[in-house]
C-alpha cells in the first residue's frame, strides 16, 4: 500500500513538472535575464517608472516561465504586492484592438464595466481608457503591468493603435505602466510602425539557450529526480538511484543526444519523459532504458508514413505510380489519367497478384488519397477541369513511401519490387 501511495505521489509531482503546471523554484541558465526583468518591473511598481520591454526567444525557451517567475517573486515583496495591477493579453485571443480594449477595461475594473460587460463603443472605450491613463500620474496612480503574449500579432492590428497608445503612455507623464511583450519572432521590431517603434524603449530580453549536452543530461536528471521534501525518504532514495543509473546508460545517452541535436527546448524533452513516466507502475518500479527508447520511437515517428499503413493495396499502387511519375517528370504535377496509365503499365508487365480495376473504382481511390491530403491539387487549377484531368502533386517524400512499404502488412512482393525498381 505504501508503495502504491509512493507511486501516486511520484506520478503527481513529475507530471506537474512535465506539464509545466508548477513554476520551477529557481530558473537555470537565465539568471541575467531574470534579474533584468525583475529590476525593471520592480522599478515600475515602486518608483512608478514607466517601461517597455520585449522578451524574445524561440518556442519552448521559457519566456512565459521567466515572466511568471518574476511576477511570482515580485508579488512576494510587500511593497509591490498591492501596488501593481496586471493586465494579461494574448495576441491569439485579442485578435483586434476592439476586443483588446474591452479586455483591458475589464481586467482593470474601470468604471464603465458592469459585471463582466464593458459598455460603450470602440471609440468610446479607447477614449475612456486613454482618459483614465492620462488622468493618472507617476506618484499617485497604481502602476499597471500590461503583458502582451504573442506580441507580434498585436503588430498586425489596424494602425497598431493599441501599441502606439500603450507605448505613448509609457513615454509620457501619465499613469505609470510597464508593457511586457512576449514573442518568438526575432524580427519583431521590424513589424512596428516607425512612430510606434520610436516610442518603444528598445529593451529586448533574449532567451536563447546556449546549453551543451552535459548540461542537458543534467537537466534530464534533475527533472526526473524527486525533491528532498518527498515524504517517503527511502522511496525517494531508491527512485533517485534508479534515475541515476538510467541517465548513465549508454543507449539512453544516445537517445537523448538525438533529441538534443533535434531541439534544445524543454517542452519536447518533457513530452519524452512524460511518455516514459506513464509506463511506471508498482509492478515496474523504475524507468528502464527500453522505455525511453520506445518513447523516443514514438516521438520521432513519421506521421504521414504511418498514414500509408492504412491504405488499401489499390491506393498504395496508385501512390507508387505517382512516385514513378514524379521520378520521370521531375516533380511535375500529374492527373488521374496519367496515374491510371502508369498503374495499367505495371499490370501488363509484371503483375501476377493484381487485376485491373474499373475507372470509377480507381477514381474513388484517388479521391480518398486527396481527402487524406496525400495528394494536393495544384494551385490555380480550377474546378472547371474534369476531375480525371485535374493536376495533382504528391505531398509525400520517397523515403516515406519506401519506409511505409517496408512495414506494410502482407504487401505483395511484386508491388514492393515495382516500387523499388528505378523506372516503373
Amino acid at each position: 500500500v505504501k508503495l502504491t501511495i509512493g507511486f501516486t505521489q511520484v506520478q503527481q509531482i513529475l507530471r506537474e513538472r512535465f506539464c509545466e503546471r508548477r513554476l520551477p523554484d529557481r530558473l537555470e541558465g537565465v539568471e541575467a535575464q531574470y534579474k533584468h526583468l525583475l529590476e525593471l518591473l520592480r522599478r515600475t511598481a515602486i518608483h512608478g517608472e514607466s517601461n517597455s520591454v520585449l522578451i524574445v526567444g524561440p518556442r519552448g525557451a521559457g519566456k512565459t516561465t521567466l515572466l511568471q517567475c518574476v511576477l511570482r517573486d515580485l508579488q512576494k515583496e510587500e511593497k509591490v504586492q498591492k501596488n501593481l495591477l496586471q493586465v494579461h493579453l494574448n495576441g491569439l485571443l485579442q485578435t483586434d484592438d476592439r476586443i483588446a480594449l474591452k479586455e483591458i477595461t475589464r481586467q482593470l475594473h474601470l468604471e464603465n464595466v458592469v459585471g463582466d460587460k464593458v459598455f460603450g463603443s470602440f471609440a468610446e472605450n479607447l477614449a475612456f481608457l486613454l482618459e483614465a491613463l492620462k488622468k493618472g500620474n507617476r506618484s499617485s496612480s497604481c502602476p499597471v503591468l500590461f503583458v502582451l503574449d504573442e506580441f507580434d500579432l498585436f503588430a498586425h492590428h489596424k494602425n497598431q493603435t493599441l501599441l502606439y497608445n500603450l507605448f505613448d503612455v509609457s513615454q509620457s507623464a501619465q499613469a505609470p505602466i510597464a508593457v511586457v511583450g512576449v514573442t518568438c519572432r526575432l524580427d519583431v521590431l521590424e513589424l512596428l510602425e516607425k512612430r510606434v517603434k520610436s516610442r518603444f524603449s528598445h529593451r529586448q530580453i533574449h532567451l536563447l539557450s546556449s546549453l551543451n549536452f552535459t548540461q542537458y543530461l543534467e537537466r534530464v536528471w534533475t527533472q526526473l529526480s524527486l525533491p528532498d521534501s518527498f515524504p517517503d525518504k527511502k522511496f525517494a532514495q531508491e527512485w533517485n538511484a534508479g534515475v541515476k543509473t538510467l541517465c548513465e546508460d549508454k543507449s539512453v545517452e544516445e537517445v537523448l543526444q538525438r533529441h538534443f541535436n533535434s531541439s534544445k527546448d524543454f517542452r519536447s524533452l518533457h513530452m519524452l519523459l512524460m511518455l516514459c513516466l506513464s509506463r511506471v507502475s508498482v509492478a515496474k518500479p523504475t524507468i528502464k532504458p527500453a522505455d525511453l527508447l520506445e518513447a523516443s520511437r514514438m516521438c520521432f515517428a513519421d506521421t504521414t508514413a504511418n498514414m500509408l499503413h492504412g491504405l488499401s493495396i489499390l491506393e498504395l499502387c496508385l501512390v507508387i505510380a505517382m512516385k514513378h511519375l514524379n521520378d520521370v517528370y521531375e516533380g511535375e504535377p500529374f492527373n488521374l489519367q496519367m496515374v491510371h496509365n502508369e498503374f495499367k503499365k505495371f499490370l501488363h508487365r509484371k503483375s501476377n497478384s493484381m487485376y485491373n480495376f474499373e475507372q470509377p473504382v480507381v477514381m474513388k481511390a484517388f479521391e480518398h488519397l486527396q481527402q487524406l491530403e496525400l495528394i494536393r491539387p495544384v494551385d490555380g487549377s480550377s474546378a472547371k477541369v474534369q476531375r480525371e484531368y485535374q493536376l495533382m502533386r504528391l505531398t509525400l517524400d520517397h523515403s516515406q513511401i519506401m519506409e511505409a512499404l517496408q512495414k506494410y502488412p502482407q504487401c505483395p512482393t511484386d508491388i514492393k519490387q515495382w516500387a523499388m525498381s528505378a523506372f516503373g
Binding site: 518608483h47 517608472e49 514607466s50 524574445v56 524561440p58 518556442r59 511593497k79 498591492k82 501596488n83 484592438d97 475594473h109 474601470l110 468604471e111 458592469v114 459585471g115 459598455f119 470602440f122 471609440a123 479607447l126 475612456f128 483614465a132 493618472g136 506618484s139 499617485s140 497604481c142 502602476p143 499597471v144 494602425n159 493603435t161 502606439y164 497608445n165 509609457s170 513615454q171 509620457s172 507623464a173 518568438c184 519572432r185 526575432l186 524580427d187 512612430r195 520610436s198 516610442r199 528598445h202 529593451r203 529586448q204 533574449h206 536563447l208 539557450s209 546556449s210 538534443f260 533535434s262 531541439s263 534544445k264 520521432f300 515517428a301 513519421d302 491530403e373 505531398t395 517524400d397 516515406q400
Partner: protein, 901 residues
Amino acid sequence: MKYFTRMKIRRVYEWSGKPRSFNRRLKTYDYDSFAISVEGLSKIIINTGQDIFIEGCDEDNPYVAKVTRLYGDENGQQMKAVVQWFIRVSELPVNKLKLLGREPHPQEIFYYECRNCDNEVNVESILRPVKVKHLDSNDPFPDSADKDTLYVKLSWDSKVFRVVNSTVVESPAEPAPASSPPSCLKPSLPMSPSCSQSAATPRGPSRRVLPTPDHAIMHKASLGEVGCSSVGTPANVEAESLHSATKLSASKCLSAKRRNATARTPGVRKRLELSSPEKSVTGEEVLSQLLNEELESKVTLTRRPPPSPAHPLRVTHSLTPLRKAHRPTGAQCGVPLKSSSVFLNKWPLSDSESPLSPAKDDSTRATQKKELETIKEPVLSVLAEVENEKSPMVTETPRSSKRKSAMLVSSRIKKQLNLLENHQDPNSSGEEEDEFVPSKNDLLSSSEEEGQDEDGPNIDDQVSAKKFRYVATGSRNSRSKQKSYSSARTQRRTPAKKISPGTPQTPRHATPSIPIRSLQTQQPANILEEARARLHVSSVPESLPCREQEFQDIYSFVESKIVDNTGGCMYISGVPGTGKTATVHEVIRCLQHAADMDEIPSFHFIEINGMKMTDPHQAYVQILQKLTGQKATPDHAAVLLEKRFSNLAPRKETIVLLVDELDLLWTRKQNVMYNLFEWPARRHARLVVLTIANTMDLPERIMINRVASRLGLTRMSFQPYSFKQLQEIIMSRLNKLKAFEEDALQLVSRKVAALSGDARRCLDICRRATEICEHSAADPSSTGLVGMSHVMEALNEMFSSAYITAIRCASTQEQLFLRAVITEFRRLGLEEATFQQVFVQHQALCRIEGLKPIGVSEGLAVCQRLGACRLLLLEPSHLGVLQRIRLNVSQDDIFYALKAD
C-alpha cells in the same frame, strides 16, 4: 438636415415709436424699442434694457444678451443694437468650468465681461425676449418649471468668475404687457440667511447639480418664498392656486405672493426665523434621479410650518390640495402635467408645541374628511398614512401613468445590475434601510413621488412614521412618540452612512480613472536613480534645448493669429523623436502664460491625435467634445462644428487645434482633412490648426489638390538632431548632475545621431546604461559614473540584431538545416526552394556529419521552429513538403555564425 428647416420663420423687425435722439456725428437715430412681428403671431416689443435671445449656432441654446442701446441709420436701412452679452454654461470652455468649483446649473448664465468681443449686433438676429434673473451667489437655483428663465450669479471675463451685482443684471423696466412672455420678476429681495425656516429642495434639472443640498443654503434659498406664502391670506392663496392650475408658472405665483407678503407682514418673517432648528432634507432625491427629465417641471418645497398655531396654517399650505379640488377624478391626472406645479412638503414639528402639525401633514392628503380625522389625533394621522402606504399599488395605480412604469423598470434594472454600493446619497440609503423589502420601497417611493401631484405628502413624514412603527411599537403615548420619532430620525441618518445602496451607476457617468496606489512612490535614492528619473522620456524638461528657432517660428505664427483674431494652418513634419509635439506643447504653454498675464487675448487649446482614435471621423467627435463637452455621432459633430465655425459668434475665443499624426486622418474622400483646413479659412472661425506628421511631402503625396491647397504653404520641418544637439539635450536633462563620463555621452549621441537622430532612443540608451552601471557597481574598478563600457553594452543590447546569437544557440539539426538551405540555393541558383529539395540536401549533410538522418516529420518540425523565429520565411505549413522556403538572414550571417562555432 432638420437643423436648417427650423430657422425658416419669417420675422419682420421695425422700430416702434419715434427716435429718441439723433446723433449728428454718426448720423444715427437712437430708439427706445422695436417690434418683432412673426408671421401668424403677435407682435413682440423689445425695449432697451430687456434681455433677449440672439440667434447663434445652436438653435436650442441661442445667445443671451441684454439690449443696452438701439439705433438705426438715417434711412432706416440698418437696425443695430448694442448689447451686453451673457454667456451660457455650454459656451464656456470646458476646461474653465472647473474654476466654478461646482456643477453649473443648466439654466445658469454668466455676465460676460470680456472686452475683446463685439457687442454690436444686427437687430435682425434678435429672436425673442427672455427672462434673466439675478441670484445671490450663495443662493441655490430656484426650481422653475420654465426653461426660459435663466439665472445669473457670476460674471465671467474669460479668466475668472466673479460675483455680479444684481443692479447690473436686472432689467430696469418691466416689459410692456403686450409683449407675450412677461419678463422676469426679480427675486432679489433683501435676504438674510435665517429669515425663514422653510427650505426649498431643488427639483428637476437642478437635481444633479445639488445632490445633497446644504442645509444652511437651503434655508437661505427658501427665504421669503414659502415662508411668505404661509402668511398670505386664505383668499389670496386660493386665487393663486387657481392660477397655478392654469398654465402659469408657479414660481411667478410664488414670487408675486412673496412680494405681497413681505410688504404686509415683515414682522411675521422676523418671528419665523427664530425657530428653525431642524434641518430639512428630503429623502427622495435618489429615487427621483431616475426620473430626472420627467420631473423637470416640478417644484417641491419642503417646509417647516411656523410654530404659532394662531396662523391660518391649514389654508396657506394647502395650495396643492386646492388645486386638486378642481379635478374630478384621480384618473384624470393620468396624463402628467405639463404645467409646473408646486408641492409643499412639511416637516412635522419635533417640538410638541404645535398640536396642529399632523393636521398640516394630512392636509396635503387633500381629502377633507381625512383632515378632520387627523386634527383630532396626531398619531392617528401618521398611522393612517402608513396604512395608505401599505397599499400603494391600489391607491396609486390609476394615476401612476408612464412615470410609474419607468420607475418600475428602473428599479428592476437597478436590482439586476446589483449596484447597490453607491455611497453618494445617505438619504436614500436611509429609506432603503427602513424598508424590509427593497423592491417594494422603490415602488412606494416612486408612487409617493407621483402622488405628490395631488397629495404632496412628505415622504420623510411617512418614512419616519413607518420607522416609528417598526422601531417604537412599544411606546404609545404621544410624548414618547415625539421622542421616538426624533430618535428614529437620528437612527435613520446613522445607518445611512454605513449602508450604501442607491442609484445604479450607469457606465454613462463612469469617470475614467486608474486606481490610486496604496503605497507611496519611492524617491530616487542615489545619483544613478536620480539620473534615470530625469532621463526618462516622460519627465518634462524645464526647457527645450536645440529647438529655439522652431519654437520661435511656431510661437510667432500662433501668437499673430490669436492677436489678429484670424485663423490659419501650419504643417510641421519631422521623423519620430525630433520634438515636434513637445515643441508645440511648449509653445502653447508659453502662450497660455502670456494669456494669463493678459498680454494676448485668451484662447482655447485642443489636441487630437490620429493614432488615438479608432476612425478618422472620430476627429470631429473629439474636437466637439473638447470644445463644448457634448457628445455626438461623427456626422452630427461634423454638422455642429461646421455651423460653429461658419457662423458669426462675436464672443468666441480663438481656438488652437493641434492635429498630431495627421496622416492617419486620411480617408478616401479626404473630407476630414478638407474640413480641418477649410475651417480656419472661414471668416469668423478664428481657428488655428497646427498639424504634425512624419513625412515632409505628405501634402503632395497623399492629399488631393483642394486639400493641399487649403493647407497652405506654412510649413516647417524638424531636422533629426545632430550629435551635438543630442548631447545638449542629455546635459540639460541631467542638469549638472554628474552621472555620466563625457566620452560616454558623446558616444551615445554620436551613435544615435548616425542612426536616427531620435531623442527618445538616446534617452533610453542612457537610461539603460545607468542600469548596467548600477549592476556592475560591485566591480572595484568602477568609478560610480556611467562609463564607455556601460554605454557600449547598452548600445549593443539595443542595436545588435539577435540573429547571429540565435543561430549559434540553435540545435544541431537546425543549424544543419540552415546549411542545407544555403546549399540548395547555391545548387538552384535561386533564393527559394521547396522543403522537399532542401530536405534531400539535409539528409546528405547528416550523413557527412555522421548523424543519423531524421525523418520527414522531424525535418518539418525543425523547419517550422526556424520559421517561427523568422530565421526562415515559410509558406503556410499545411502545404507540408511542398512549402517553399526563403532565408530571412543573409547567407553571410549564417556562415559567420556557424564558422565561429
